[in-house]
């Protein structure tokens, strides 16, 4: 018999188990929910955190990377952050608890802890698969979040900004969002650190985009330099729905951002754009899966990564096209600027196509700043430092400008510029 010896439990794994035991009394949930929580912690105890041997975590060996886990602190007194976009309606969650969920016309917002308490969240807590560590940690520890329902045909005049704030310690939240048919609007999901204390954050968004809706969803991860951020968004796209998803990572020490999309209605159109700014000794992993399971859908993805210092970056992108999904048009590109000799980036694009009448493509590039472009700018009297920063900004701006919303573009460009200046 071939017995695999069990690995010894790591400090971080033990801390996860301990913080679960210590906080069990504070975790909302009926019997079913609590049973699920228990089983997820038991999984972590038995299987440990994923290592490079687990394909989905090959480039992010969490067992080695996650060194410690902060304790679940008391809720700090945190003010909402300044709006990214002036005039936006703000919903906020602080330290894992819904703080301000004042809804606006046509949008219903309720605290997710209600779903946990009455057990209706149980089905939602199911793991994506056996390697779904983000789902496991979030499921075990989730305390609250906001459930949003946007009624059919609503046109949002003002953007809706969801601020997920924390003041160190642990925060685990979930956001089930149902976008009704024909809805138009801009939604911004921000993950913000309000202090310098270490944090472990997990957050899952379930975004169900109704038929014919046309929305922009921005995920802006602005965590602190010592934070661990485990993010996941699970998207279902209805028929003829249009989604522009923009994902920005400009923070965190250890980041895993998962994006899982199912194009489940015919004629849907997905535009995914990402900007990852990686500096210091951080490790950032963006893992994307996209499933085309019906015919006639279009999807296009472009990720731009800027990597500095000793940072490490990972992009895993998988597109699956089912046999029935004829006339799919799917493109994926991952472009990386490596700006130091000590940083590194791994890109793993995958296509799995079972239909025979589709257009699918992927490309990954990793480069330094273009020497000819740099020389051209210098030959016009622009000094080395300014010229390099212009070119780095240009590399990002190209994808930001596709957002087609002046205020949002300006806000993001300003944020990225500040980041680049601080890391220059």
């Amino acid at each position: 018999m071939n017995m695999q010896s069990k690995k010894p439990i790591t400090a971080a794994e033990q801390l996860l188990v301990d913080s679960f035991v210590h906080n069990l009394g504070n975790l909302p949930g009926d019997g079913a929910v609590l049973t699920i929580r228990d089983s997820y912690i038991e999984d972590i105890k038995q299987r440990g955190l994923p290592t490079r041997r687990v394909e989905a975590w090959h480039y992010t060996d969490l067992r080695n990377l996650l060194k410690t886990v902060p304790s679940i602190g008391k809720s700090a007194d945190i003010e909402p952050a300044e709006r990214l976009i002036a005039g936006a309606n703000v919903i906020s969650v602080v330290d894992g608890h819904a703080a301000n969920i004042a809804a606006t016309g046509g949008v219903t917002a309720t605290a997710y802890r209600e779903d946990l308490s009455d057990g209706s969240a149980a089905a939602r807590m199911a793991l994506r698969n056996s390697d779904d560590l983000v789902g496991r940690i979030n499921g075990a520890f989730v305390t609250d979040g906001v459930k949003l329902q946007v009624e059919d045909d609503l046109v949002l005049d003002n953007p809706l900004e969801i601020q997920v704030l924390h003041g160190g310690g642990q925060a685990h939240t979930r956001f089930p969002v149902t976008i009704g048919k024909g809805v138009k609007g801009l939604f911004v999901e921000r993950h913000i650190s309000c202090c310098e204390e270490d944090a472990l954050v997990s957050s899952i968004t379930d975004l169900d985009v109704g038929d014919g809706a046309d929305i922009v969803w921005v995920i802006n991860q602005e965590q602190g330099l010592s934070d661990t951020h485990l993010g996941q968004i699970n998207i279902k796209l209805g028929a003829d729905a249009k989604l522009l998803l923009f994902v920005a990572n400009a923070g965190g020490k250890l980041v895993r951002q998962e994006i899982h999309i199912v194009a489940s209605g015919e004629g849907s159109e997905l535009t995914l754009r990402g900007v990852n700014l990686l500096g210091g000794e951080s490790h950032t992993d963006v893992t994307m899966t996209l499933e085309h399971i019906v015919p006639n859908c279009v999807s296009g993805q472009i990720f731009r990564n800027v990597v500095l210092d000793r940072a490490k970056g990972v992009f895993q992108g998988q597109i699956k096209v089912a046999q029935i999904a004829q006339k799919t048009d799917a493109k994926m590109a991952c472009n990386t600027l490596l700006l130091s000799d000590f940083c590194d980036f791994s890109a793993k694009p995958e296509l799995e196509i079972f239909a025979d009448d589709v257009q699918c493509g992927h490309g990954a590039t990793v480069t330094d700043i273009d020497k000819n472009q740099l020389f051209y700018l210098k030959a016009r009297g622009i000094g080395e430092k300014r010229a390099r920063s212009l070119l780095v900004k240009a590399f990002i701006v190209e994808v930001v400008e596709e957002l087609d919303n002046e205020v949002l573009i300006e806000a993001l460009e300003k944020q990225f510029e500040t980041w680049l200046n601080n890391h220059g």
């Binding site: 210098k378 009297g381 000094g383 212009l390 190209e398």
Partner: protein
């Protein structure tokens, strides 16, 4: 204005010597044409003048207004008034042409200790210069050189030249890729900038450009040296007889 003394230079990467004892003097207000067969070092000379780090000067000196510029980097030389109109202007996606012009003009002004331009003043200057070169303002909203036709690229180079007001302009095969109408527009743009205290080095393969930009002197570059200098007549002789005789005489 410019004095190149016994210049030797090589490619930094593999040490291949390209410029081998080049001497050239360009006076204030002079338009000097440099001609020569392929591989004679014409474009290399333009890169060395602008301080491109792919090339190393191993011997000799380049004096600009009496001062050696070998210790200056590319941007410093540009701020000091040296301008290279590229044979192949570089496309830079993500940088709008207007934004680039403004940064370039202001960086040069800052380097010279001058105040930055106000936005209205900047716009006024660009509009005036663009009109002279028949450049549509819409083109300047596009990313720098991206999707520009050959003619648009060269006109954009001359636009930059007229806005940056350099003292020494090096035109590297500005005629390549231009049809006759575009050539006239570009040449008119250059001629409008001729002045007693601005000099030009016009690098070209063909006499044709020199019919529009009439040079004061013509120099033949061969194997990294100036092997013959003369007036405009020399260019006409080269056009009819080729380089063989000049090369034979020099040997």
């Amino acid at each position: 204005m410019l004095e190149i003394r016994n210049l030797h230079a090589r490619i930094a990467e593999d040490g291949t010597e390209i410029i081998r004892g080049l001497n050239l003097t360009v006076k204030n207000g002079e338009v000097a044409a440099i001609m020569g067969p392929n591989g004679s070092g014409k474009s290399t000379l333009s890169y060395i003048l602008t301080g491109r780090s792919d090339y190393e000067v191993t011997e000799g000196d380049i004096l600009y207004d009496g001062q050696s510029i070998l210790g200056m980097d590319t941007a410093e030389r540009a701020a000091a008034g040296l301008f290279l109109a590229f044979q192949y202007p570089v496309e830079i996606p993500g940088v709008a042409t207007m934004q680039f012009l403004k940064v370039a003009m202001n960086e040069q002004r800052k380097a010279r200790g001058e105040d930055e331009l106000t936005t209205p003043d900047f716009i006024r200057r660009v509009k005036a210069a663009a009109a002279n070169l028949q450049i549509d303002m819409a083109m300047l909203k596009r990313p720098l050189n991206v999707g520009f036709s050959g003619g648009e690229k060269k006109r954009a180079e001359i636009l930059q030249m007229s806005l940056l007001e350099p003292k020494l302009c090096v035109l590297d095969e500005t005629d390549s890729g231009l049809d006759i109408d575009a050539l006239k527009i570009v040449a008119d743009g250059v001629n409008a900038l001729r002045s007693p205290d601005r000099s030009f080095i016009v690098i070209t393969h063909y006499q044709r450009l020199l019919e529009y930009i009439v040079p004061d002197s013509v120099h033949v570059l061969y194997k990294g040296q100036v092997i013959k200098s003369g007036d405009r007549q020399l260019a006409l002789e080269l056009e009819s007889d080729g380089y063989a005789n000049v090369i034979k005489d020099a040997a």
